[in-house]
């Protein structure tokens, strides 16, 4: 039975039904609202709760263990993290990860932007490029990692975090970047660009003065994806980083060897970095939107 069959008397839907509707127009909340609100709150708690636990536990003193209750309050494990030999070269790994992420972000932003421009129109072979991209996204990370490792072996180049690992990570960040670019471009009205051409702009001028400023928030979003996906990338970096570890590789070896809160301290430090990046990007996007709202008169 389709909903249409049920409309015996059109327009005679009882008021109560409307009030409890899926998108209520009056002030009453349907009971499902409260059920789903509970689901949502539980989900957010489960999402953040465990992370908050390890941040708290990383501030224990020297007696601290891996579980609650808290034993003391100090920065002992943060100091331990950066001074102890047994926790590995955290400082170096951290330094490499940030540099690697910056390189990957810069390339991701430029290449995704250009690919986004290309995909606005159909071109010969666009389907192949698209499915290559999807393939690169869903291919098991370790398979690609092994492939790149073997390839470097075969050519006779030693894999390094700033060469092979950059490429391996791009095979993961670029498809994401282009997908975000798709979403961004779909809201871009080509008439603005055409107007620039009509006013005598060159292609480069149109991109620099019209397309990039309009798409700026989306481009920042691509940068956010590029940085964070690279900074936390593990499987594709595993066989391609060469002899020096990146931070996720360092964390991985710590999860297997280290059973002290210094592991949690590292978690806290790396999450702070992530949060700073996220806040900076979202803040920038917000700022651009705000400036725009103040400039363009409401209509």
């Amino acid at each position: 039975m389709t909903p249409a069959d049920r409309a015996v008397r059109p327009g005679a839907v009882p008021k109560a039904v409307v009030a409890h509707a899926i998108a209520p127009r009056s002030s009453g909340r349907p009971w499902t609202f409260y059920v789903l609100l509970t689901v949502f709150v539980l989900y957010v708690l489960a999402l953040y709760g465990p992370m908050i636990c390890i941040y708290i536990l990383s501030f224990q003193d020297v007696r601290g263990g891996l579980v609650f209750p808290m034993k003391g309050l100090s920065l002992h494990w943060f100091v331990d993290l950066f001074t102890q030999v047994r926790t590995g070269d955290v400082k170096g790994a951290f330094d490499r990860s940030v540099k690697l992420a910056v390189i990957v972000t810069a390339i991701t932003v430029v290449v995704s932007f250009l690919a986004g421009l290309a995909f606005r129109r159909r071109f010969r072979g666009d389907g192949i490029v698209f499915y290559l991209m999807i393939g690169s996204l869903v291919a098991p990370g370790l398979v690609l990692s092994i492939g790149v490792g073997l390839l470097m072996n075969f050519i006779g180049i030693e894999g390094r975090w700033y060469t092979s690992a950059v490429g391996a990570q791009l095979s993961w960040t670029l498809p994401f970047g282009v997908l975000v670019m798709f979403a961004v471009m779909s809201r871009f009205d080509r008439a603005w660009e055409e107007a620039a051409y009509d006013l005598g702009a060159t292609r480069w001028q149109a991109i620099r003065l019209v397309v990039i400023p309009i798409l700026a928030p989306g481009i920042v979003a691509v940068a956010l994806f590029g940085f964070t996906l690279s900074y936390d990338e593990f499987a594709r970096t595993l066989q391609t980083a060469g002899s020096l570890n990146t931070l996720p590789l360092e964390i991985w070896s710590m999860t297997l060897n280290v059973t002290s809160p210094s592991l949690y301290a590292l978690g806290t430090v790396t999450t702070i970095i992530s949060f700073v990046i996220i806040a900076a990007c979202l803040g920038t996007i917000g700022l651009i939107q705000k400036r725009r709202a103040s400039r363009v008169p409401a209509y």
């Binding site: 992370m51 996204l137 073997l150």
Partner: protein, 287 residues
């Protein structure tokens, strides 16, 4: 203009291809080639053609167990992340009235995606462990007398960690699909006398099908291709397809690792293709 556009299409796409060819196409081909070669047993590869690695894979009883185990985790993770993801997205789109608040809550859900997965995974240890928060709480309340052993380093904790990491991959595309549903379609169904359940079943679910498919592709391919969550969260109790060939790499058995990798890649590709058949992903993304 159109002819110029076509040429510029390839000019703009070439940097992307310059990354995808050497770092996606070539590695896959190298792995494929290596899978047909022989190992000399000392980490070297002898360039002679053999199907030996594949014969080993398909005659070993272990292979089937690995796939059963991995597919079990995939199905469980897919089911729970879809269920949670669908209702969270539904709540945000249809129950939160202020669009600004909905976007804010949506961002709240996505922030952990931009932080380290490994850290998010190990953060379950202080909760689920034998002396963890959950066991302590259960004992204090008097629900159990002994700590529950199955909470950590078990199949249970593996699924918990996966769902924790991957539900966001369901929420984002489903949220996008749902946000595009014309509210008038919902109102029309209401006016026609549909119940709340009818609307979800006959309007919302079909119109968010593409988002569900897209999320499923992410979840299925990530769980199938993962090994570190299984390794850490099962405490060594469970194996995975990728974990098994990562061990081959550890002992420098490249050809057999490559053959396993090829078989896995084919399985994942088949699964993704099946999902793709039900939806035009490109159209969905470009809309």
């Amino acid at each position: 203009m159109a002819a110029r556009e076509g040429a510029f299409g390839w000019l703009y796409i070439s940097p992307l291809m310059l990354v995808l060819v050497p770092f996606f196409v070539a590695p896959i081909l190298v792995v494929l080639a290596a899978s047909f070669l022989q190992s000399d047993g000392f980490g070297g590869i002898i360039p002679s053609f053999t199907l030996g690695s594949y014969v080993d894979i398909f005659t070993s009883g272990l292979t089937l167990n690995l796939y059963v185990e991995t597919i079990k985790f995939t199905v469980l993770t897919w089911f729970f992340s879809l269920t949670i993801g669908f209702w969270v997205a539904y709540f945000l789109v249809f129950h939160v009235r202020s669009p600004l608040l909905a976007i804010g809550l949506f961002l709240l859900c996505t922030v952990p995606f931009w932080t380290s997965n490994i850290i998010r995974m190990i953060s379950w240890i202080p909760l689920l462990g034998k002396e963890g928060l959950i066991n302590m709480a259960l004992i204090r309340v008097g629900v159990v007398r002994e700590p529950l052993e199955f909470l950590l380093f078990s199949s249970f904790s593996v699924v918990v960690a996966y769902v924790h990491q991957l539900t966001i991959f369901m929420i984002v595309p489903i949220f996008n699909s749902m946000a595009r549903i014309d509210k008038r379609a919902v109102e029309a169904a209401l006016d026609a006398g549909a119940s709340r359940f009818d609307i979800i079943r006959l309007v919302v679910l079909p119109l968010s099908k593409n988002g569900i498919a897209l999320g499923s592709i992410f979840v299925v391919s990530i769980v199938m291709g993962d090994f570190f969550v299984v390794k850490v969260m099962s405490g060594g109790g469970s194996a995975s397809v990728v974990g098994a060939f990562y061990e081959d790499i550890g002992v420098l058995q490249y050809p057999s690792a490559a053959a396993s990798a090829v078989v896995l890649t084919i399985v994942v590709t088949l699964l993704v293709t099946v999902i793709l058949r039900s939806v035009d992903v490109r159209k969905e993304l470009a809309r």
